[in-house]
């Protein structure tokens, strides 16, 4: 039913091919999960991808078309998505506008909203996990770190999300976090779209805390109750939050509503950080320019 035509990537736990679905000649990607060398059986990342992608059907979430076993390997047949947002951001020959940014952000937030209303955390949002289809639709991909939102009695690992996109509560080792961690990641991605360079590129986990607070101000118990209970809190430098004028200078092309939205997504206190619905209904998405139609995006 499926042909594997060309290897396009290889990671620690999977090899990715592009191919064709024979019955309708649809272009597909096949993620062949390596099964040897994992002493605990099927890898957790593979289990997560299969588990969560099977439950979600949304235009802004990558489609899992099929799953099959072949030669003792697990194969995930996914929709073919030829590009990702990281490619677009880094390729300086591609010019994009505020309307384009708005469109990508809108699609990202819709995908995140769909995950969260199914009580699924993505936990690895970053530009190269936001894939782009030929029709311009943006899709959340790589659910290898995803999981259900934690039950009250569960302790989650804080060692999730790629460093530069990691929310402050994760940097401090929080174990009872919520979907707010995904919103933080989206806020960083928004900033990166506007700047076209990584916004908070920490060199290591310790440096990430410093880079984050230097840019956005060090939170206190007053604006984030009980933050001082985190062990790492006492060792950090205190920086003032940026003024609005500083943000305007940094994000020159951003409107006031864009800055409000970004600031809302990058609120330190996870309780006060915007939810997906608050983001989607923000003024930013109803002011001009309108978001570019996906088919007209770079």
């Amino acid at each position: 039913e499926y042909s594997k035509e060309k290897k396009v990537g290889e990671g620690t736990y999977a090899v990715v091919y592009v191919g064709t679905k024979q019955s309708d000649e649809r272009r597909i990607a096949i993620k062949e999960i390596k099964t040897s060398g994992f002493k605990d059986g099927l890898d957790m990342s593979a289990i997560r991808e299969v588990k969560y992608l099977q439950e979600m059907q949304h235009v802004n979430v990558i489609e899992l078309i099929d799953v099959f076993m072949a030669q003792n390997n697990l194969n995930l047949v996914l929709e073919f998505l030829p590009a990702d947002l990281e490619m677009i951001i880094k390729d300086t020959s591609i010019l994009f506008t505020q309307a384009d940014i708005k469109s990508w952000l809108l699609m990202t937030l819709r995908g995140v909203h769909h995950c969260h209303r199914n009580f699924i955390l993505h936990r690895d949002l970053k530009p190269n996990n936001l894939l782009l289809a030929l029709d311009g639709q943006l899709k959340l991909a790589d659910f290898g770190l995803a999981r259900n939102m934690g039950s009250p009695q569960e302790s989650l690992t804080s060692n999730v999300v790629t460093r530069w996109y990691r929310a402050p509560e994760l940097l401090f080792g929080a174990r009872h976090y919520t979907g707010a961690v995904d919103i933080w990641s989206v806020g960083i991605i928004f900033a990166e779209l506007m700047l076209r360079i990584p916004y908070l590129p920490g060199k290591d986990d310790i440096d990430q805390i410093d880079v984050t607070f230097r840019a956005l101000g060090t939170p206190t118990d007053r604006d984030w109750p009980e933050i001082s209970t985190f062990g790492a809190y006492n060792k950090i430098q205190v920086y003032p939050p940026p003024s609005r004028e500083e943000l305007r200078r940094r994000f020159i092309a951003a409107t006031e509503n864009a800055l409000d939205l970004m600031s809302g997504m990058l609120t330190m206190n996870p309780h006060k950080r915007l939810s997906p619905i608050q983001c989607l209904t923000s003024e930013y998405f109803v002011e001009l320019p309108e978001p570019t139609a996906p088919s007209e995006l770079p």
Binding site: G41, K51, Q57, V67, R147
Partner: protein, 282 residues
């Protein structure tokens, strides 16, 4: 829920479920007969007594016997999970995986004991309760090979669908909503006891075919009805506008139009479904 794989892949009518089990059993029985035939052909020197002895042992189990055996081991999964201090949802998922496995495999092809630890370990992984296989095998007093041997077969038999909605969260939800709807009319300590009793009953219900015929919230409501009929009926009257006598067959429900608009539920029909569910569980 209708988009979920649980609904799309693992919901059946009683007739369809019977048919599935009959077909699996028939297919395996045919293999047993075939194997027996080949055995006799390849051992022509057997005496008549020996042939009769072999034939008397090599009798395929019936569909009903298969079900009894599967349910017996499913029950053991719950008690074993309890001894290993595994979370309730892990045990429930393991039971779901185990019973679903035997909707496409016969106990005659793969004895339940061989997938017992596999389903439990796999359920730990899918429910984010990861224990290394070495540690798991040690606690379960088995080998890592035994735990992992049939993992891929399990995954295939599950049609690669791993998400489970169990009635426990629905129980918590109804526990909350009952407090709101019956505000001030229910003793909280008593509610706590009801919750605890229902949680245990849900674990029993997961061993029945109710999981295939009804949704998790319907199972929860059935359990609540079994635990305290008066409380449940009062809740259904106030929440869904059920008639005073709760008679599902007495014509149109006396829901106000606002209630019908608000929750889009036919109270009498819901009660009928819940009572059917209760019968299956009982």
């Amino acid at each position: 829920y209708r988009h979920s794989t649980q609904y799309r892949n693992w919901s059946f009518t009683p007739e369809r479920l019977d048919q599935i089990r009959t077909e699996v059993n028939a297919s395996a029985s045919a293999r047993v007969e075939e194997t027996l035939k080949h055995f006799f052909e390849s051992h022509p020197d057997l005496s008549r007594e020996e042939e009769e002895a072999v034939a008397s042992k090599a009798v395929p189990v019936t569909t009903h016997e298969e079900l009894l055996l599967v349910n017996y081991f499913a029950r053991m999964i719950i008690s074993f999970a309890g001894k290993m201090n595994l979370p309730t949802e892990v045990a429930a998922t393991a039971v779901a995986f185990f019973r679903r496995f035997f909707l496409s495999n016969s106990v005659m092809d793969l004895p339940p004991k061989e997938v017992f630890h596999t389903t439990l370990f796999f359920a730990c992984k899918t429910e984010n309760y990861f224990i290394g296989v070495d540690s798991f095998a040690k606690k379960a007093k088995t080998t890592t090979e035994a735990v992992l041997k049939h993992e891929f077969k399990l995954l295939e038999s599950l049609n690669f669908t791993l998400m489970n909605h169990h009635p426990y969260k629905a129980l918590h939800g109804f526990f909350l909503d009952i407090q709101n709807v019956l505000s001030g009319r229910v003793d909280m300590q008593y509610m706590g006891q009801v919750y605890t009793n229902c949680k245990k009953s849900i674990s029993d219900a997961l061993l029945t075919d109710a999981v295939y015929f009804f949704t998790p919230p319907q199972i929860t409501l059935a359990i609540l009805l079994m635990e305290d009929e008066a409380l449940m009926m009062r809740y259904m009257q106030l929440k869904f506008g059920l008639q005073q006598d709760g008679d599902a067959s007495a014509g149109q429900p006396s829901q106000s139009s606002e209630q019908q608009l608000a929750n889009g539920i036919n109270a009498s029909k819901l009660l009928e479904v819940v009572k059917n569910c209760k019968s299956v569980i009982s």
